[in-house]
Amino acid sequence: MLDNEPKLIRDAQKGKGECFGQLYDHYLPAIYRYVFMKVSNKHEAEDLTHEVFMSAWQNLERYKFKGFPFSSWLYNIAHNRVIDFYRTKKSHADIEEVDEGFIKVVYALDKIIDTSLEIEKVHAALQEMTDEQQDVILMRFMEDMSHRDIAAAMNKTEGAVRLIQHRAMQNLRNMLSDKKQDTSNDNGRTTV
């Protein structure tokens, strides 16, 4: 959250574009990441993120500070926008249909981190989870958001968010261990 966020929001609500610009600069990376992880396509993520901020700018007077950060409101818009996107697209992006832009990002991240869990596998496991579980995992562990802020973004109670997180982590562990087993089995077969 920005230090002078409430003032920036008030000024932006009065129509001061530069104040909204500051909010945009601060929250763009997080919202873009969230959308990118949901759609797995660079260009679609860019289009959707643009629409999220355009919608926020056009409907800024609807935002009222009730103890939740501005980011929760933006995530809420992004969440709804992604749902609309899949509703019109009719199907979720298949990991095999992931675009080149995404693959480049995955390879870049693989070089950054030193872990036995490959980025692509974690992403594939996330894609197999429900929308709610994906949202909670991304907001909680990728963005370090509190349960309270996640609950505000998802229009749910904190208890419900904790429950979703618990199930999501269980799913993720199971899926990743299955994938690990599959990989070791495949390796075993090739060596035989």
Binding site: E46, E61, I113, T115
Partner: protein, 134 residues
């Protein structure tokens, strides 16, 4: 594994939008003027309608008053054309004029009767003088 999973999830934080995209998108968003909320629009339109209706209504009332519309409905007290009849000096003048006229008629009758009496008296005096002379 748990630790590696969190580490991998944290690694996704390195995903960032292109700088050129961010700048272009920012420019495009801020170049669009903000449109008011639909509900706010409704209230604005309603306020405009009321404002213009009141102005039009007031103008019509003024015209109505100017052409003496109230007298048409027998609301004489408010008609500017009828208000002149409440001018007391005008009424008294008319009354006084009527009084003068009646006074003049009375005087004419008096003078007419007096002349007749004088003529009669002169005739009687002349007759008496003639008798004395004889």
């Amino acid at each position: 594994m748990e630790e590696q999973l969190f580490k991998t999830l944290k690694a996704f934080r390195n995903i960032k939008p292109d700088q050129s995209y961010a700048e272009k998108s920012r420019r495009m968003i801020l170049s669009v003027p903000r449109t008011a909320h639909p509900i706010a629009n409704i209230f604005q339109r309603l306020a405009d309608t009321v404002k213009y209706s009141v102005a039009l209504g007031m103008a019509m009332v003024m015209v109505f008053l100017m052409i003496g519309g109230f007298s048409y409905f027998k609301v004489t007290n408010l008609s500017p054309l009828v208000l002149t009849s409440f001018d007391e000096s005008n009424g008294l003048q008319q009354e006084a004029q009527g009084l003068d006229f009646r006074i003049q008629l009375g005087q004419a009758k008096y003078f007419d009767e007096a002349t007749q009496q004088v003529a009669d008296s002169e005739r009687e005096i002349n007759a008496l003088l003639d008798k004395i002379a004889l």
